[in-house]
Subunit: 155 residues, 2 copies
Protein backbone atom coordinates (compact mmCIF):
# COMPACT_ATOMS: atom_id res chain seq x y z
CA UNK A 1 0.00 0.00 0.00
CA UNK A 2 3.01 2.37 0.05
CA UNK A 3 3.90 4.03 -3.26
CA UNK A 4 6.99 5.97 -4.28
CA UNK A 5 6.31 8.54 -6.96
CA UNK A 6 8.22 11.40 -8.52
CA UNK A 7 6.53 14.16 -10.45
CA UNK A 8 7.83 16.49 -13.16
CA UNK A 9 6.59 19.34 -15.29
CA UNK A 10 6.53 18.50 -19.00
CA UNK A 11 8.18 20.84 -21.51
CA UNK A 12 6.64 19.78 -24.83
CA UNK A 13 4.15 17.47 -26.56
CA UNK A 14 6.96 15.29 -27.95
CA UNK A 15 5.92 12.41 -25.68
CA UNK A 16 2.59 11.93 -27.51
CA UNK A 17 4.17 10.18 -30.52
CA UNK A 18 5.78 7.64 -28.14
CA UNK A 19 2.69 6.97 -25.99
CA UNK A 20 1.22 3.44 -25.97
CA UNK A 21 -2.05 4.43 -24.29
CA UNK A 22 -4.33 7.46 -24.01
CA UNK A 23 -7.22 7.71 -21.55
CA UNK A 24 -9.66 10.38 -20.44
CA UNK A 25 -9.79 10.98 -16.68
CA UNK A 26 -12.37 12.95 -14.68
CA UNK A 27 -11.87 13.13 -10.92
CA UNK A 28 -13.11 14.86 -7.81
CA UNK A 29 -12.37 14.80 -4.10
CA UNK A 30 -14.47 13.71 -1.13
CA UNK A 31 -11.58 15.13 0.86
CA UNK A 32 -8.73 17.17 -0.64
CA UNK A 33 -6.85 17.38 2.66
CA UNK A 34 -3.37 15.89 1.93
CA UNK A 35 -3.43 14.09 5.31
CA UNK A 36 -6.33 11.92 4.11
CA UNK A 37 -7.17 12.46 0.45
CA UNK A 38 -10.27 10.63 -0.82
CA UNK A 39 -10.57 10.67 -4.61
CA UNK A 40 -13.32 9.52 -6.97
CA UNK A 41 -11.99 8.92 -10.49
CA UNK A 42 -13.60 7.95 -13.78
CA UNK A 43 -10.98 6.64 -16.23
CA UNK A 44 -12.63 6.05 -19.59
CA UNK A 45 -15.52 3.72 -18.58
CA UNK A 46 -14.23 2.56 -15.18
CA UNK A 47 -14.70 4.00 -11.69
CA UNK A 48 -12.11 4.10 -8.90
CA UNK A 49 -12.02 5.16 -5.27
CA UNK A 50 -8.56 6.04 -3.98
CA UNK A 51 -7.42 7.05 -0.50
CA UNK A 52 -4.00 8.58 0.12
CA UNK A 53 -2.31 9.45 3.40
CA UNK A 54 0.20 12.16 4.04
CA UNK A 55 3.63 11.84 2.44
CA UNK A 56 6.82 11.51 4.46
CA UNK A 57 9.25 14.43 4.86
CA UNK A 58 10.62 14.08 1.32
CA UNK A 59 7.11 13.76 -0.14
CA UNK A 60 7.87 10.61 -2.13
CA UNK A 61 6.25 7.92 0.08
CA UNK A 62 2.51 7.95 0.78
CA UNK A 63 -0.02 5.41 1.97
CA UNK A 64 -2.22 4.62 -1.03
CA UNK A 65 -5.32 2.43 -1.12
CA UNK A 66 -7.47 1.93 -4.23
CA UNK A 67 -10.51 -0.08 -5.25
CA UNK A 68 -12.43 -0.26 -8.51
CA UNK A 69 -16.09 0.71 -8.20
CA UNK A 70 -19.02 0.54 -10.66
CA UNK A 71 -19.11 3.47 -13.12
CA UNK A 72 -22.66 4.43 -12.05
CA UNK A 73 -21.56 4.58 -8.38
CA UNK A 74 -18.55 6.72 -9.34
CA UNK A 75 -20.89 9.15 -11.14
CA UNK A 76 -23.17 9.45 -8.08
CA UNK A 77 -20.19 9.92 -5.74
CA UNK A 78 -18.59 12.50 -8.08
CA UNK A 79 -21.79 14.54 -7.65
CA UNK A 80 -21.19 14.98 -3.90
CA UNK A 81 -17.46 15.80 -4.25
CA UNK A 82 -15.96 19.16 -3.32
CA UNK A 83 -16.19 21.75 -6.10
CA UNK A 84 -13.26 21.70 -8.57
CA UNK A 85 -13.61 18.60 -10.74
CA UNK A 86 -10.37 17.84 -12.62
CA UNK A 87 -10.31 16.75 -16.27
CA UNK A 88 -7.23 15.46 -18.02
CA UNK A 89 -5.99 13.18 -20.76
CA UNK A 90 -3.46 10.64 -19.50
CA UNK A 91 -0.82 9.20 -21.80
CA UNK A 92 1.44 6.29 -20.86
CA UNK A 93 4.95 6.37 -22.26
CA UNK A 94 7.57 3.64 -21.79
CA UNK A 95 11.05 5.04 -21.21
CA UNK A 96 13.78 2.48 -20.48
CA UNK A 97 12.42 0.13 -17.79
CA UNK A 98 9.82 2.57 -16.50
CA UNK A 99 6.45 3.96 -17.51
CA UNK A 100 5.78 7.67 -17.33
CA UNK A 101 2.16 8.71 -16.88
CA UNK A 102 1.83 12.09 -18.59
CA UNK A 103 -1.27 14.22 -17.96
CA UNK A 104 -2.49 17.03 -20.21
CA UNK A 105 -4.94 18.96 -18.04
CA UNK A 106 -8.09 20.58 -19.37
CA UNK A 107 -10.75 22.95 -18.07
CA UNK A 108 -9.57 25.22 -15.27
CA UNK A 109 -6.11 23.61 -15.35
CA UNK A 110 -5.50 24.03 -19.09
CA UNK A 111 -1.87 24.73 -19.88
CA UNK A 112 -0.55 22.33 -17.23
CA UNK A 113 1.34 19.20 -18.33
CA UNK A 114 2.71 16.89 -15.67
CA UNK A 115 4.49 13.50 -15.68
CA UNK A 116 4.70 10.93 -12.90
CA UNK A 117 6.94 7.91 -12.51
CA UNK A 118 6.53 5.14 -9.93
CA UNK A 119 9.67 3.68 -8.36
CA UNK A 120 10.35 0.59 -6.25
CA UNK A 121 12.48 2.52 -3.79
CA UNK A 122 13.53 6.11 -3.32
CA UNK A 123 17.03 5.60 -4.76
CA UNK A 124 16.08 3.66 -7.92
CA UNK A 125 17.57 5.29 -11.02
CA UNK A 126 15.51 6.08 -14.13
CA UNK A 127 15.87 7.75 -17.54
CA UNK A 128 14.73 11.34 -18.05
CA UNK A 129 13.77 12.09 -21.66
CA UNK A 130 14.26 15.65 -23.01
CA UNK A 131 10.58 16.55 -22.59
CA UNK A 132 10.87 16.10 -18.79
CA UNK A 133 11.29 19.44 -16.97
CA UNK A 134 11.56 20.59 -13.37
CA UNK A 135 10.80 18.09 -10.58
CA UNK A 136 7.74 19.09 -8.50
CA UNK A 137 7.39 16.01 -6.25
CA UNK A 138 7.62 18.10 -3.08
CA UNK A 139 5.54 21.03 -4.31
CA UNK A 140 2.05 20.71 -2.85
CA UNK A 141 0.62 23.13 -5.44
CA UNK A 142 0.95 20.38 -8.04
CA UNK A 143 -1.01 17.80 -6.05
CA UNK A 144 -4.22 17.15 -7.98
CA UNK A 145 -6.11 17.61 -4.69
CA UNK A 146 -4.65 21.13 -4.45
CA UNK A 147 -5.36 21.87 -8.13
CA UNK A 148 -8.97 20.92 -7.44
CA UNK A 149 -9.32 23.91 -5.10
CA UNK A 150 -6.75 26.23 -6.74
CA UNK A 151 -6.72 25.43 -10.47
CA UNK A 152 -3.65 26.26 -12.59
CA UNK A 153 -5.42 29.06 -14.50
CA UNK A 154 -5.98 30.95 -11.23
CA UNK A 155 -2.26 30.99 -10.26
CA UNK B 1 -28.07 3.84 -2.60
CA UNK B 2 -30.64 6.08 -0.81
CA UNK B 3 -31.46 5.17 2.79
CA UNK B 4 -34.23 6.37 5.06
CA UNK B 5 -33.29 6.24 8.72
CA UNK B 6 -34.80 7.53 11.93
CA UNK B 7 -32.80 7.88 15.11
CA UNK B 8 -33.86 7.92 18.75
CA UNK B 9 -32.32 8.27 22.16
CA UNK B 10 -32.65 5.13 24.28
CA UNK B 11 -34.05 5.38 27.81
CA UNK B 12 -32.94 2.09 29.41
CA UNK B 13 -31.02 -1.16 28.94
CA UNK B 14 -34.25 -3.18 28.65
CA UNK B 15 -33.55 -3.86 24.96
CA UNK B 16 -30.49 -6.01 25.74
CA UNK B 17 -32.56 -9.03 26.83
CA UNK B 18 -34.38 -8.93 23.48
CA UNK B 19 -31.32 -8.47 21.24
CA UNK B 20 -30.47 -11.22 18.73
CA UNK B 21 -26.97 -9.93 17.97
CA UNK B 22 -24.19 -7.97 19.67
CA UNK B 23 -21.14 -6.61 17.85
CA UNK B 24 -18.21 -4.38 18.72
CA UNK B 25 -17.72 -1.40 16.37
CA UNK B 26 -14.71 0.92 16.08
CA UNK B 27 -14.93 3.68 13.51
CA UNK B 28 -13.20 6.84 12.34
CA UNK B 29 -13.70 9.45 9.65
CA UNK B 30 -11.60 10.35 6.61
CA UNK B 31 -14.08 13.22 6.31
CA UNK B 32 -16.62 14.11 8.98
CA UNK B 33 -18.23 16.85 6.86
CA UNK B 34 -21.94 15.88 6.60
CA UNK B 35 -21.96 16.89 2.90
CA UNK B 36 -19.56 14.04 2.12
CA UNK B 37 -18.89 11.78 5.09
CA UNK B 38 -16.24 9.08 4.55
CA UNK B 39 -16.20 6.47 7.31
CA UNK B 40 -13.85 3.57 8.07
CA UNK B 41 -15.50 0.98 10.31
CA UNK B 42 -14.30 -2.23 11.93
CA UNK B 43 -17.27 -4.39 13.00
CA UNK B 44 -15.96 -7.38 14.93
CA UNK B 45 -13.45 -8.85 12.40
CA UNK B 46 -14.69 -7.12 9.23
CA UNK B 47 -13.74 -3.80 7.64
CA UNK B 48 -16.09 -1.39 5.85
CA UNK B 49 -15.74 1.85 3.94
CA UNK B 50 -18.92 3.95 3.83
CA UNK B 51 -19.63 7.23 2.06
CA UNK B 52 -22.69 9.33 2.88
CA UNK B 53 -23.98 12.47 1.20
CA UNK B 54 -25.95 15.27 2.75
CA UNK B 55 -29.49 14.54 3.91
CA UNK B 56 -32.55 16.22 2.45
CA UNK B 57 -34.42 18.99 4.31
CA UNK B 58 -36.05 16.56 6.77
CA UNK B 59 -32.74 14.75 7.34
CA UNK B 60 -34.16 11.29 6.70
CA UNK B 61 -32.89 10.60 3.15
CA UNK B 62 -29.15 10.44 2.42
CA UNK B 63 -27.02 9.01 -0.37
CA UNK B 64 -25.18 6.02 1.14
CA UNK B 65 -22.51 3.88 -0.49
CA UNK B 66 -20.70 1.04 1.28
CA UNK B 67 -18.12 -1.60 0.45
CA UNK B 68 -16.49 -4.28 2.58
CA UNK B 69 -12.69 -4.00 2.76
CA UNK B 70 -10.02 -6.29 4.23
CA UNK B 71 -9.59 -5.89 8.01
CA UNK B 72 -5.87 -5.09 7.66
CA UNK B 73 -6.69 -2.29 5.17
CA UNK B 74 -9.34 -0.92 7.53
CA UNK B 75 -6.75 -0.81 10.33
CA UNK B 76 -4.25 1.10 8.16
CA UNK B 77 -6.95 3.54 6.99
CA UNK B 78 -8.23 4.05 10.55
CA UNK B 79 -4.72 5.24 11.42
CA UNK B 80 -4.98 8.22 9.03
CA UNK B 81 -8.53 9.19 10.09
CA UNK B 82 -9.37 12.46 11.81
CA UNK B 83 -8.89 12.38 15.59
CA UNK B 84 -11.93 11.16 17.55
CA UNK B 85 -12.26 7.41 16.99
CA UNK B 86 -15.71 6.14 18.06
CA UNK B 87 -16.19 2.89 19.97
CA UNK B 88 -19.57 1.30 20.58
CA UNK B 89 -21.36 -1.99 21.10
CA UNK B 90 -24.20 -2.49 18.62
CA UNK B 91 -27.20 -4.64 19.49
CA UNK B 92 -29.84 -5.68 16.97
CA UNK B 93 -33.39 -5.98 18.26
CA UNK B 94 -36.38 -7.17 16.25
CA UNK B 95 -39.52 -5.18 17.00
CA UNK B 96 -42.58 -6.02 14.91
CA UNK B 97 -41.47 -6.09 11.26
CA UNK B 98 -38.41 -3.93 11.81
CA UNK B 99 -34.94 -4.20 13.28
CA UNK B 100 -33.63 -1.55 15.63
CA UNK B 101 -29.85 -1.12 15.77
CA UNK B 102 -29.08 0.06 19.29
CA UNK B 103 -25.63 1.47 20.10
CA UNK B 104 -24.11 1.73 23.56
CA UNK B 105 -21.24 4.17 23.14
CA UNK B 106 -17.94 3.87 24.99
CA UNK B 107 -14.83 5.99 25.48
CA UNK B 108 -15.42 9.72 25.07
CA UNK B 109 -19.10 9.09 24.27
CA UNK B 110 -19.88 6.96 27.32
CA UNK B 111 -23.40 7.54 28.61
CA UNK B 112 -24.91 7.86 25.14
CA UNK B 113 -27.38 5.21 23.92
CA UNK B 114 -28.94 5.61 20.51
CA UNK B 115 -31.26 3.49 18.33
CA UNK B 116 -31.71 3.59 14.57
CA UNK B 117 -34.40 2.11 12.37
CA UNK B 118 -34.28 1.83 8.56
CA UNK B 119 -37.52 2.39 6.63
CA UNK B 120 -38.57 1.75 3.03
CA UNK B 121 -40.16 5.17 2.70
CA UNK B 122 -40.56 8.22 4.89
CA UNK B 123 -44.17 7.47 5.81
CA UNK B 124 -43.79 3.79 6.71
CA UNK B 125 -45.20 3.06 10.18
CA UNK B 126 -43.25 1.17 12.85
CA UNK B 127 -43.55 0.10 16.50
CA UNK B 128 -41.87 2.11 19.26
CA UNK B 129 -41.04 0.00 22.32
CA UNK B 130 -41.01 1.70 25.76
CA UNK B 131 -37.22 2.00 25.83
CA UNK B 132 -37.32 4.32 22.78
CA UNK B 133 -37.03 8.01 23.76
CA UNK B 134 -36.85 11.33 21.93
CA UNK B 135 -36.34 11.33 18.15
CA UNK B 136 -33.01 12.92 17.12
CA UNK B 137 -33.03 12.21 13.35
CA UNK B 138 -32.69 15.89 12.48
CA UNK B 139 -30.23 16.79 15.23
CA UNK B 140 -26.76 16.96 13.72
CA UNK B 141 -25.12 16.66 17.17
CA UNK B 142 -26.08 12.99 17.20
CA UNK B 143 -24.46 12.18 13.87
CA UNK B 144 -21.54 9.85 14.61
CA UNK B 145 -19.39 12.10 12.41
CA UNK B 146 -20.21 15.02 14.72
CA UNK B 147 -19.63 12.92 17.86
CA UNK B 148 -16.20 12.09 16.47
CA UNK B 149 -15.18 15.75 16.78
CA UNK B 150 -17.43 16.72 19.73
CA UNK B 151 -17.86 13.62 21.90
CA UNK B 152 -20.88 13.29 24.23
CA UNK B 153 -18.78 13.67 27.41
CA UNK B 154 -17.70 17.17 26.26
CA UNK B 155 -21.28 18.49 25.83
Amino acid sequence: MIEIERKFLVLSNDFIAKAFSKKRIVQGYLNSNPERTVRIRIKEDKGFLTIKGKGNATGTTRLEWETEIPLSDAEKLLAICESGIIEKIRYEVKVGNHIYEVDIFGGENEGLLMAEIELKDENESFEKPIWIGKEVTNDRRFYNAYLSGKPFKSW
